[in-house]
């Protein structure tokens, strides 16, 4: 008998069983933990659908809030506010984000490129409430009032890292041959980037936009002291009034964005804190709307990118 066989001779059978048991137990544990983590997901979604579904009706989507005690009333102001602020944020964030992504893709190893990537990652970790404070300092304070514009700026800063990162990844997926081919034909770099590379990556890039927008739509903290909230916000009313008074496009636009604006998450936050059951019910309904919005965008974006990716890879 060799030394090794001597050493392992005692209780080899027991050890072997022990090792196998540990293996099965630990591997099962990881599966269980995965299930455990999914419980809150289904619980939250399920409960929001259940509770929110009870209070939702058509009024909800198309009416401004009514005082307590009166029937009807909805959260049109919040829906419109969310749309306006998110749209503004997208407009502010997408062009610089895409341009920065172009730079990062072409110059991954220059000092600026490395610093840019690093900064983007670091920026994505800044708490949203701190960004809200920043937007307050550079927009609300100088302007003297809260506004949808300031909220748009805050959300744009929030969206920027996501847009840069996903755009960069999608641009990288475009085959290098396309880039070289375009340059070989004599097209300048900027034209190549905008007319050839970007459209080729468009699907994935749009996915990135959608995901960033979904995140922005659900954010509350940055809007707390930038848009503040406005229960009387009514886009149609503003536009109608503006037309009646012969105001220019810019004047109407200004009125749309240059005043406090509400949003779905903000409304949820406010209603959840109020002691009235009707408001709590409405809060759940808002939660349902918000979640449907955010989850739908997310799921759609993922499905989109998966089918496109599969097509790209043939």
């Amino acid at each position: 008998m060799t030394r090794f066989q001597q050493l392992i001779a005692k209780n080899q059978a027991a050890l072997s069983t022990h090792r196998k048991t540990v293996n099965v137990v630990m591997l099962s544990l990881t599966g269980l933990l995965t299930l455990l983590a999914l419980i809150p997901l289904f619980w939250i979604i399920g409960y929001v659908v259940y509770r929110g579904g009870k209070s939702i009706n058509l009024d909800f989507f198309f009416h401004l809030p009514r005082p307590l005690g009166m029937a009807g009333g909805g959260v049109l102001h919040a829906i419109e506010g969310t749309l306006v602020v998110t749209l503004l944020a997208a407009v502010f964030a997408i062009p610089p984000g895409v341009l920065a992504a172009f730079y990062a893709v072409r110059n991954p190893n220059t000092p600026l490129g490395v610093a840019l990537r690093f900064s983007t990652d670091v920026l994505s970790g800044v708490p949203s409430i701190v960004i809200g404070l920043f937007a307050y300092a550079i927009m609300v304070k100088p302007m003297g009032h809260y506004s949808g514009l300031a909220g748009g700026v805050a959300l744009a800063i929030l969206m920027l890292p996501t847009i840069i990162r996903t755009t960069e990844e999608m641009l990288k997926l475009v085959p290098h041959a396309l880039y070289e081919g375009s340059l070989a034909l004599g097209a300048p770099e900027w034209k190549t980037s905008l007319s050839v590379i970007f459209p080729a990556a468009l699907n994935g890039v749009i996915t990135g936009f959608l995901l960033a927008i979904a995140r922005a739509a659900g954010e509350t903290a940055p809007l707390l002291f930038t848009t503040l909230g406005n229960e009387r916000y009514d886009i149609m009313g503003i536009i109608r009034n503006g037309i009646l008074q012969h105001q220019s496009f810019f004047q109407i636009f200004g009125r749309l964005v240059n005043q406090p604006v509400d949003s779905l998450p903000l409304t949820l936050w406010k209603y959840a804190q109020q002691p009235y059951p009707e408001r709590i019910d409405q809060a759940w309904a808002v939660a349902l709307v918000l979640m449907i919005l955010v989850l739908l965008i997310n799921i759609f974006a993922r499905l989109w990118i998966e089918t496109r990716k599969r097509r790209l890879q043939g």
Binding site: T2, R3, Q5, L7
Partner: protein
């Protein structure tokens, strides 16, 4: 064809500890599938104890797949399936109830590229024994030294056992991997082109090593290097793919027969360099 001697080839000549042939592993009608694709068809092979068996053939003919079915490494690939019998000391290790972990200890494997763990040299070799509950430092020291000596690596590393294994050269790393496999005292050692990634000197050392340890182990080596097969092995098996791209065993015999008077024309073409 008689007397086809291509070039001076040294045919393996080591003294055997067991002069009579004892069957160690037997492969019967083995077929391997990846999903619907049949990678191996009807392989039959005998490997004798304390002998070196080489498996040669052009690349892509399934030599690695065959080796990996011995110790169930194919289980790691999804949709991989192995049918047929693999008998180790007469018992079928391809059956459903076999203890895969135990089979893997009894059949040690050395891979084409050295893959030491990012741990110290000592911890690499002690990895196996520790799994088996050997904890005392004195015991581990003894086993580690024994294995590293067998792998012809001791003199080079005895002073730096606690340095990282990744600091070693390629050839040294591969011998370390051999030592690591030897530490749990397998019965069969399969080597999948162990020297193909190494320089000639390291290759030679590994071949010498094989000659030294074969008295305690049964060795199966896959190689695309015919001279190596001729130098090192007692028996040689020739594989090739058929029209369905499935690997088959063409011929299997003593090494000097395969290289001087092969029975199958395809074997002859391959060893004389006319093909592959």
């Amino acid at each position: 064809m008689d007397n086809i001697i291509v070039a001076p080839i040294m045919v393996g000549n080591h003294t055997h500890s067991t002069p009579e042939l004892v069957m160690k592993m037997e492969i019967r009608n083995l077929s391997a599938f990846y999903g619907k694709f049949r990678a191996l068809t009807d392989i039959n092979l005998e490997m004798y104890a304390n002998r070196i068996t080489a498996i040669i053939g052009p690349s892509g003919c399934g030599k690695s797949t065959l080796l990996r079915s011995f110790n169930h490494m194919n289980d790691l690939t999804p949709n991989a399936r192995v049918e047929g019998k693999i008998l180790l000391d007469g018992a079928d290790i391809n059956s459903e109830h076999v203890d895969v972990v135990d089979v893997r200890r009894r059949i040690g494997m050395v891979f084409q590229r050295p893959n030491p763990f990012p741990k110290s040299i000592y911890d690499n070799v002690a990895y196996g024994p520790r799994l088996y509950g050997i904890r005392r430092k004195a015991d581990l020291d003894e086993l580690v030294e024994k294995s590293i000596r067998q792998a012809a690596l001791w003199d080079e590393v005895k002073d730096k056992l606690h340095r990282s294994a990744l600091a070693l050269s390629g050839g040294q790393q591969q011998r370390l991997c051999i030592a690591r496999a030897l530490a749990v005292e397998p019965e069969v050692i399969v080597m999948d082109e162990p020297a193909s990634a190494l320089d000639p000197i390291s290759t030679l050392r590994i071949e010498e090593l094989m000659h030294d340890i074969v008295k305690d182990y049964t060795i199966v080596i896959v190689t695309h290097n015919m001279q190596q097969a001729a130098r090192v092995s007692d028996f040689t098996a020739m594989m090739m793919i058929d029209e369905n791209l499935s690997g088959r065993m063409i011929e299997y015999d003593r090494t000097e027969v395969i290289f001087t008077r092969p029975k199958d024309k395809r074997t002859e073409d391959y060893v004389t360099g006319r093909f592959g």
